[in-house]
Symmetry: D2
Amino acid sequence: MTKEKARIKFALFGAGFIGKIHGANIARHSQAELAYIYDVNTEAAEQLAVQLGAKVAASPGEIWGSNVDAVLIASSTNTHADLLNGAIDACKPIYCEKPIDLDMNRVKAVVQQAQKTDLPILVGFSRRFDSNHLGIREALQNGEIGKLEMMHITARDPKPPLLSYVKVSGGQFRDQTIHFFDMLRWLAGEDPVEVYAAGASLVDPAIGEAGDVDTSMLILKFASGALCHINCSRRADYGYDERVELFGSKGMAISRRKPRREVTFYKGVSVVSDGLHPGWFERMEPTFYRALDTFIQAVEGKNAEYPTLIDGLKAQIIAEAAVESLRTNQPVKINYWSPEQ
Amino acid sequence: MTKEKARIKFALFGAGFIGKIHGANIARHSQAELAYIYDVNTEAAEQLAVQLGAKVAASPGEIWGSNVDAVLIASSTNTHADLLNGAIDACKPIYCEKPIDLDMNRVKAVVQQAQKTDLPILVGFSRRFDSNHLGIREALQNGEIGKLEMMHITARDPKPPLLSYVKVSGGQFRDQTIHFFDMLRWLAGEDPVEVYAAGASLVDPAIGEAGDVDTSMLILKFASGALCHINCSRRADYGYDERVELFGSKGMAISRRKPRREVTFYKGVSVVSDGLHPGWFERMEPTFYRALDTFIQAVEGKNAEYPTLIDGLKAQIIAEAAVESLRTNQPVKINYWSPEQ
Amino acid sequence: MTKEKARIKFALFGAGFIGKIHGANIARHSQAELAYIYDVNTEAAEQLAVQLGAKVAASPGEIWGSNVDAVLIASSTNTHADLLNGAIDACKPIYCEKPIDLDMNRVKAVVQQAQKTDLPILVGFSRRFDSNHLGIREALQNGEIGKLEMMHITARDPKPPLLSYVKVSGGQFRDQTIHFFDMLRWLAGEDPVEVYAAGASLVDPAIGEAGDVDTSMLILKFASGALCHINCSRRADYGYDERVELFGSKGMAISRRKPRREVTFYKGVSVVSDGLHPGWFERMEPTFYRALDTFIQAVEGKNAEYPTLIDGLKAQIIAEAAVESLRTNQPVKINYWSPEQ
Amino acid sequence: MTKEKARIKFALFGAGFIGKIHGANIARHSQAELAYIYDVNTEAAEQLAVQLGAKVAASPGEIWGSNVDAVLIASSTNTHADLLNGAIDACKPIYCEKPIDLDMNRVKAVVQQAQKTDLPILVGFSRRFDSNHLGIREALQNGEIGKLEMMHITARDPKPPLLSYVKVSGGQFRDQTIHFFDMLRWLAGEDPVEVYAAGASLVDPAIGEAGDVDTSMLILKFASGALCHINCSRRADYGYDERVELFGSKGMAISRRKPRREVTFYKGVSVVSDGLHPGWFERMEPTFYRALDTFIQAVEGKNAEYPTLIDGLKAQIIAEAAVESLRTNQPVKINYWSPEQ
């Protein structure tokens, strides 16, 4: 099949860092075509449009009324809910960056509205598309390590975000750990029922003064009795450190650190290898294309597994329970909410 | 110096599995000599005595009245307190296997009694003598990884003990995890102030019916704000798994798994290496000789760092708090007890 | 800079496997544009042209006369020399897949002709662009491992090529090992002066009957006294195995195997990780884009280091000496040839 | 069984570094007993005798006439042949350190004399008792990697020996590489038929001036067509480096480097682990006890596989061929010599 036929026309919301990544991926995907870009920063939208051969939309409305087949929402978090609503009304399949919204009521409203339709809506938990994480999940699903008993997730960013961002981010659990609240459900194949969270601001006291933590450990319990540990830090001197370990009744599966290169030096009393990636993006970059590709399969009506709005909602519900646990120093039961059918 | 002169004469209590290890180590240490063995099982004592060239003592009293320079207590746990008391009264330096006693009041009484003397008393937390664990502790103490922020300890036995043993062991925290309650204090250089414990019986329901857990995760908080995770299982399909990770402000230090051999096979799509040791003993065997050697230095009046009765007491106090946390599903403050001076 | 301006117009010769790779890389490079494709298989050329948005050239002549800025020669080996001559006459910078030609006289004639011009001509030894190999070369050049004393190159393909190909390939040294004859010069920064080669047909007796070997070991001597070992196999049960080790007076640098994923399983007595890539292409794929990028920098007049026609010639001269050594079972001095200036 | 019964009485020749190792191993082996020590340095013999509870023999003759059951020859190389002869005449089983003698005629004479008897005679190629090397040999023998096609042996000492020793050592091949000439026969299960050797003095020019090399590479051919590479250096900045790789038709087996500890540091852009052992002894130390244990089994009439005088002879014959190849820069056929039956 040549690229000319039947390509899915995309509109992209957001021409910032992550919007550029998505835009370039759409442009190089043989089944996709980037038709429109919208950004409140018109100049950014125009630059990207020129580079990728797309048109600038004057408003979201222009997109809703257009012939685009799908939208990709990569604009700032506070715009997600409205754009989701708009796209649902316009019957456009949606790839939306996480989180849905920081306000749980708005999240629930979007989920409720989406019940009316069966449009593909993918929430951007891109780690689900990492080949290492997929590898250990597959092993668990295939019974290779028996029944899951313990899970360990390590998630450490090289550097804390700007303090100004920390203040509006919703805090470490809603902003950083949320990826792993989704991941543990996806890996375990079941929802956690209780969470206990401990945390401190050890990296930067200003983060503590802003009411947040930068160093935290959590224990989550599954109904099956399995236990999950997460540790998060906003700073790791040695780069982006993300690792997962599944311990089962018949063995263990580890999604290891990913070195930058396979180069080793033997010098004196030491063996020195390359360390980790400088940031999450260098580590996770390939997952964005794979997530897009999966979304495209879904839009084309093919079978595709991907994180849904309900997955996005559940991760946020877990985050809220973790925040409550940290505040009260008590384990907190997780009450999932379901939209009315 | 030749072996004939000035060797320290030892009496050994206990001719079981661990007593045999200690006996053989004493026998091959150039500064030590095994003079007496006592065991309620006279036959076992006699066999070991013949093998190692020692005499059998008819009673502990014979040892207290003898010219032995030091005693090594490797008999069953319920005899430890009495033998400690006897040895303290007889002014014999003591190497005592852990735990001191399962009854905290008896532990405190021994600690109180020992205050009267400055005899070297080493409690057998042998993991303090593992070269890997020593390596990461040294790195932390030297400032190589900055200030400690998170610690992770993984401790998984290949197989659960006999159910009959589980029932009298005091439970997973007092029996298995206690080694790591000691280790975390020794590594961190500070005492934890609070513990939260979660657990389940996933390995064997009979362990749960006996009121114990076989799979557990704990979070301990230090006053400095640093956090410590421990996970314990009574069963690991793949062998004895003990690992420690120290995460600091300037880097991370890991005491890794120890493979049985350095042999690797490349076959088809896989790279296959040797797995872990079949049991804790194969992994930890070299630590017993090093602990003995350290004790001998202490007996000879040299500077030596080793786990003391107070260390033994503190590990047990943490274990009690963990048991309480598991029972109540609440974080529990750890109240240390000090003997009157 | 937007993609619209000043992009380098390329003509591509060859629409086969490797031509498609180069074509796609040109198409996605922001400073390049694929203008023409030529292949004697017109249908293949047309399909690729539609897919990448290029025109089909009716003949090489159409390209020589066109406004293309550079050519990429990825057609079959026997066409290289003529196309190189054509491009040199037409003053088009050239990226040419290796080898230049199997006939040394034709190679020398091309090299001689290229002396007349200073066009960038890159010969496709793409391993020079592998980040691992680059890493150890840089370490050697920076003095991190002292003076080079020994080099080890392992080069094993997963499967032998078709016997029909083996027969016209020039043999293992001219076809497979030649990449590493180039690599050792590039890594060492000096030319080998003598080669001894041993070989056998252990993989497939038919290869031996065709007068070739499939398993070989070589020792090459440098004037500095440093020694180089190469081992090559036409078959490795466990995937594509390419590794390099540089041993110097102050340490060792290794460009290790590259696993497919960073996933590890602990099961029973084994630790099982992912093996190697299924083939050389999966391992080396990123090098093609980097080589193209370097060529583009050169075409734009920027400083760029790349394998030249002289490098291509020298690798072939070493291969000829190795063939001679294998035939005679004698070490053979390597006599380099220089074009008249 | 207790230690008192039926222990094998040993006489030890040599109270130097390696003699002390053997002496201590005999002393701690439950089936052995150290009865006599002989050394021309009477003081050294006496010190070791006091330490290990043995008697000093006034002369070898005292030992031949004594009731000792076996002898261990760890004295200087030039005494080996006479002591071997003496022990054979006295019908004492022999553990003899390598080499038998530097003079091939004396070696052959000893081998010839030993034909008269079926005494166990073990030549100290202790690497045959390394658990890693044993592991890959077993895999090859069990068919796990198919038929052997290539073998790679890396053997690098941390530091060159004293120049005075180099001059009398017989040179790198007879002194250092000889261990690996034995190892390759033992691993392959067949004798090499031809050797090509290249070498240089890169570590220390004085070694070259003394007529020796310190850096060498060899290719050995087996009759089966399999090829073997050895590289040797007298100096490795990063410690004692010994590795073996077996490449077969169905896979590869590697006996890897052995790290000092399993400790890893993540700091900045690097991952730093422990390097290699400081010397061959730290790496190979456990093999001496295992070799002794095997010898004891043989003396007790049990089935035991060990390196024999014939193995010692063959390794020296290969070394002679390698020396000849280095001298002539020609591959040299290896002509094995057999004693008359």
